[in-house]
Amino acid sequence: MATPAKGEVTQWLVAGSAGDADALESLLPLVYEELHRQAVGFFRRERAGHTLQPTALVSEVYLRLVNQHEVSWQNRAHFFGIAAQMMRRILVSHARGREAKKRGGAAEHISLPEELMAASERDPNLLALDDALTRLETLDPEKSRMVELRFFSGLSVEETAEVMKVSPRTIDRQWQTAKAWLHREIGASKAA
């Protein structure tokens, strides 16, 4: 797929933050494709001794897709919100695919670079985190979303606050809570 023109994504973002939900929705495949593409490019450029950093990928995709002069702070945050979901989806579906493959099952296959698969596979914690996050979502969707934003998109406290439309102070507090809860959940599921 060709890289979408910067202007296109920018337009959608502007419309999306003005309350047009469809606009945001139409961003998803674009962001997904570009993240995917960037993930490949990222590994090609960066060589030895590097950690996979999904947040870095997200930032790069943002720089590529969005015309920053035309997009306000809030729009930027929206973008990262979407990207966080995508990043989580990409990493987790692969970790799952590999797990299934290991067990000999015919896993649903999403074409992702080997490198990224290795990254997700490497970490069983990722699947545990994903499970825990899904559980948190039923209990407290806001916190689940906040973790997604901060963890998978690399948003700062302030940026997260912007997306969530709460104060940074609140995010700080919620983060402590979510962290403790998730840590407990993951630890408990491991012990089981």
């Binding site: 950690t51 973790v147 599921s189």
Partner: protein, 897 residues
């Protein structure tokens, strides 16, 4: 964790236990409150919660909170933290033949265990390094098989031996190494409060070990303090030699898998070229050792970093200026000790450009020794010419000795490379050696070339170098398909060879090599447009080719290439505004554009580009006043502006601008008196000064050209094989003669025409195909004839004229419209005019000479007409054509009498 009770979210332990969000809100509120309470008062706070379920929930969250630490705070750590349980080994467990005693370390690539041989009576302790899951095990093992013998053969008191390796039953690769009981070198130095001198001595032992490995063609690739242990006896031991190579693959796609597999490998000590993804060489180890020494001396890592993310580190290593170690230490006494030599030594090892680092670990170590023994160190000024100068001063013989050594090395390496190459298909191991050799050859070829290039007398060696390098590159080129890293390297190598050929005056060869580089880079960019490094390379190729085309008269095509280069560089500098090298290249492109635009009479465009280039270099000089390259280019851009002004007939401003340029150039040469480039540029600068005064101040002009001759004589004396220098000298001798003619100083003029002719004859002897020089020689001889005629030596003058005419007749037809040939005829015309004017000539003879003169001028004119038919308007030369037409008219007038 004992928190199974209470209110738990739906999950695998309790099937959708139906948590009531309202209850959760309560838990959350209580938990947050509890966090506000000082730890000591928390039990009291908890007791206050009446509801057991709620209290239990808050309690377990508080417990988790206490344990969570940085959990989730740093995603990269989360992603890189291996599922630790997966490969945890317990004491007593056996890996192959080794019984685990305990875990002694855990890092990015896996865990290290203390172990002993399980099947032997004597208890030899070893370190077993287990590579964690997630890597391509087959690859690692295959590489290990290839490298194992070489690594096992590294026997050095400061290198931990590699003993064994294989895979566990679970398929995890492992290495068995000599077990070293010791501390990291930096910790050791701190704890034992080693003095600076003691630290340097210790570090030199490390250098000795690395140097030994390099002699055995093993590059460490991952030198860092945690890989250098010091035993209680004070002996440093290097760990993991060659392991990085095995775990990371060398090139291409294979390497991708390992990036993710080696997350915690800290890049802070990695060289810029490793960060950028090109091959690690012995010079990469020099860099990493520099970084280790930096830390050892200053107790700080080389870069000030905010969050230590790999991206930030990579950016720091490739883009920021390293602070001097002395600037990082707290105590004034330490700063004093580090300032000067030690700062310079560390920073020289850590130079971004490999060509400007120490050439070897040995040299690095030797420089430390010099410092310790109070001798001057190599690392002082940040310039290559400084080194070259010292080198030269020490012993002139050393230059040829170095050249000899160099040729031996190159010859040996190329032979080894091609042998290894032939064996490649038969033996996978040969391929690996080939790669090593390729890298070594690459660094030797180019590093050596750089080291000798500024030295006078190097021409012959450099020509041989080009020949060998080309043979070698052409043989590699066939193998490069699909290997981007190799293609990139090849393109860079062709570019460098092109650069060398250019300085040797081989214009067709230059273009050929640069075109090879261009094609490779075009393909690289076409297959991956997001590859910035490739775009940069492409821009550089466009610039160099544009430059060459322009210089060889192909201005239209040259401009086209230069404009492509300009737009690429503008795009790249916008993305990386702080990158000095990029800005430098942008300015270089503008300077070439200025020259070509000026040549095409677009003077406004030329001035605009020239001034923009000048401004960039002024900024770069301001940022880095000791970088002589920027000063050199500043000088050149000033010269270019002056020359363009002169072309627009703004003589006064041209002269003023040229004087500014001269001041810059003289200062630079005074600091680097052995630099042939500076001297040659100064020749041109004086030459231009002469041109500018030509019409308004003949005596002044003469002085300028005489100075150009003096400088040229020095150049030729220092490097007799340098054809370009000789040609420049001959040209200026001729120009001095021209001025003397106009000042009626005939015998002086005669001497200079003769000198010029002799120089041209030497050039022709070395390069018989150089047609221009042949015509110039003919011109000078016609000048000799003219002066003889003026001095009354009629017979010799006539004889000379006959010889020149015969020569021109022989050489006719080779290249129609050659302006050199037109000039030779013109000078012959003047010679006959002088003969006709001689008091000794009879009226008949005079008439005969005038007829001959007219014929010569007419032939000159018809050659110029040919040139005009071919090239269109001749620009500056149109004036000349008018002068010749005037001479014909004069002859006609004389003949009418």
């Amino acid at each position: 964790m004992a928190d199974g009770q209470g209110l738990v979210a739906p999950g695998n332990r309790r099937e959708q236990s139906g948590v009531i969000p309202e209850r959760w809100k309560q838990v959350e509120a209580l938990f947050e409150q509890a966090l506000e309470v000082p730890t000591a008062e928390r039990p009291h706070f908890l007791q206050g919660i009446g509801d057991d379920e709620l209290r239990g929930e808050v309690e377990s969250l508080l417990h988790a909170h206490g344990q969570a630490g940085a959990f989730l705070d740093e995603p990269e750590h989360f992603f890189s933290s291996e599922g630790l349980e997966e490969d945890a080994f317990l004491p007593g467990q056996i890996i192959d033949r080794y019984r685990i005693i305990r875990e002694i370390g855990r890092g990015g690539m896996g865990a290290v265990f203390l172990a002993e041989r399980a099947d032997q009576e004597f208890k030899m302790q070893v370190a077993v390094k287990l590579i964690k899951r997630g890597m391509d095990t087959d690859q690692v093992l295959r590489r290990f098989q290839h490298e194992r013998q070489i690594l096992a053969s590294l026997e050095h008191p400061n290198i931990a031996r590699l003993l064994d390796g294989g895979t566990t039953d679970d398929g995890l690769p492992y290495f068995v190494m000599e077990y070293i009981k010791g501390e990291r070198i930096d910790h050791y130095a701190e704890q034992h409060r080693l003095s600076i001198t003691e630290r340097l001595e210790l570090f030199r032992q490390v250098c000795g070990a690395v140097s030994y490995a390099h002699q055995n063609l093993v590059v460490h690739r991952d030198l860092k303090p945690s890989n250098i242990l010091v035993t209680p006896e004070g002996t440093p031991k290097l760990l993991d030699f060659g392991i990085a190579k095995i775990i990371q693959s060398g090139d291409g796609m294979e390497a991708l898998a390992t990036i993710t597999a080696m997350p915690a490998m800290t890049p802070e000590y990695a060289s810029p070229e490793q960060i950028e993804g090109t091959h690690a060489t012995t010079l990469s180890d020099v860099y990493s050792l520099g970084a280790v020494l930096y830390q050892l001396l200053s107790s700080h890592r080389p870069y000030r970093l905010q969050n230590r993310s790999p991206q930030e580190i990579a950016k720091a290593i490739t883009a920021t200026q390293i602070e001097k170690p002395s600037a990082r230490v707290a105590r004034a006494e330490d700063a004093r000790r580090l300032r000067g030599d030690l700062d310079n030594i560390v920073l020289m090892a850590m130079r971004r450009d490999t060509a400007r680092r120490y050439r070897s670990v040995e040299q690095f170590s030797e420089d430390i020794r010099r410092h310790l023994t109070g001798r001057p160190v190599i690392a002082r000024a940040d310039t290559l010419s400084y080194r070259a100068e010292k080198f030269w001063q020490r012993n002139k013989l050393a230059v040829s000795a170095a050249a000899l050594l160099f040729l031996t090395l190159v010859g040996g390496i190329v032979a080894t490379a091609s042998q290894a190459h032939r064996a490649r298909t038969e033996q996978a191991r040969a391929e690996r050696r080939f790669n090593e050799v390729r890298k070594l050859a690459h660094s030797v070829l180019f590093d050596y070339h750089d080291a000798i290039k500024a030295l006078p007398g190097a021409t012959k060696v450099r020509e041989l170098l080009v020949r060998d390098a080309l043979n070698y590159l052409d043989s590699l080129a066939g193998e490069a398909h699909g290997d981007r890293a190799l293609q990139r390297e090849l393109a860079a190598a062709y570019e460098r060879v092109g650069d060398v050929r250019q300085t040797l005056g081989d214009m067709a060869g230059t273009l050929e090599s640069q075109m090879k580089a261009l094609r490779i880079r075009e393909a690289l960019v076409a297959t991956d447009p997001s590859d910035l490094q490739a775009r940069r390379g492409l821009a550089s190729s466009y610039r160099k080719i544009g430059d060459r085309l322009g210089a060889t008269g192909n201005v239209g095509s040259g401009l086209e290439h230069l404009r492509k280069a300009l737009s690429l560089f503008l795009e790249l500098t916008r993305a990386e505004p702080a990158d000095a090298d990029l800005r430098n290249e942008l300015a270089e492109t503008r300077l070439s554009l200025a020259s070509d635009l000026g040549g095409g009479s677009d003077f406004a465009g030329a001035l605009e580009q020239g001034r923009a280039a000048l401004a960039t270099w002024e900024q770069l000089v301001a940022i880095n006043p000791r970088e002589s390259w920027y000063r050199y280019k500043l000088w050149w851009s000033q010269m270019s502006i002056a020359y363009t002004l002169w072309l627009t007939d703004d003589v006064a401003n041209a002269i003023a601008a040229n004087a500014k340029a001269l001041a810059l150039g003289e200062a630079l040469l005074a600091q680097n008196p052995l630099n042939a480039d500076y001297r040659r540029s100064l020749v041109i600068n004086y030459q231009n000064g002469g041109d500018m005064r030509q019409k308004i101040d003949k005596r002044g002009a003469l002085e300028f050209v005489r100075r150009a001759v003096e400088l040229g004589e020095e150049l030729v004396a220092a490097d007799p094989a340098n054809g370009t220098a000789r040609k420049d000298l001959a040209y200026n001798d001729k120009r001095v003669a021209d001025f003397l003619v106009e000042l009626n100083e005939h015998s002086e003029a005669l001497r200079h025409f003769r000198q010029a002719n002799e120089s041209y004859q030497r050039v022709i002897k070395d390069a018989p195909e150089d047609l221009s020089s042949r015509f110039y020689a003919a011109t000078c001889r016609a000048g000799v004839a003219r002066m003889q005629a003026c001095l009354g030596e009629i017979e010799p003058a006539l004889e000379e004229c006959d010889n020149v005419i015969a020569f021109l007749r022989e050489t006719s037809g080779d290249q129609p419209g050659h302006l050199g040939k037109a000039q030779a005829h013109e000078y012959l015309g003047y010679a006959y005019v002088a003969l006709a004017a001689s008091p000794q000539a009879s009226a008949d003879a005079s008439r005969k000479y005038t007829t001959a003169a007219r014929e010569m001028f007419r032939q000159s004119q018809s050659i110029i007409d040919e040139a005009r038919r071919r090239d269109g308007d001749l620009g500056q030369n149109e004036n000349w054509a008018r002068e010749i037409a005037a001479e014909i008219a004069k002859c006609d007038a004389a003949l009418k009498k």
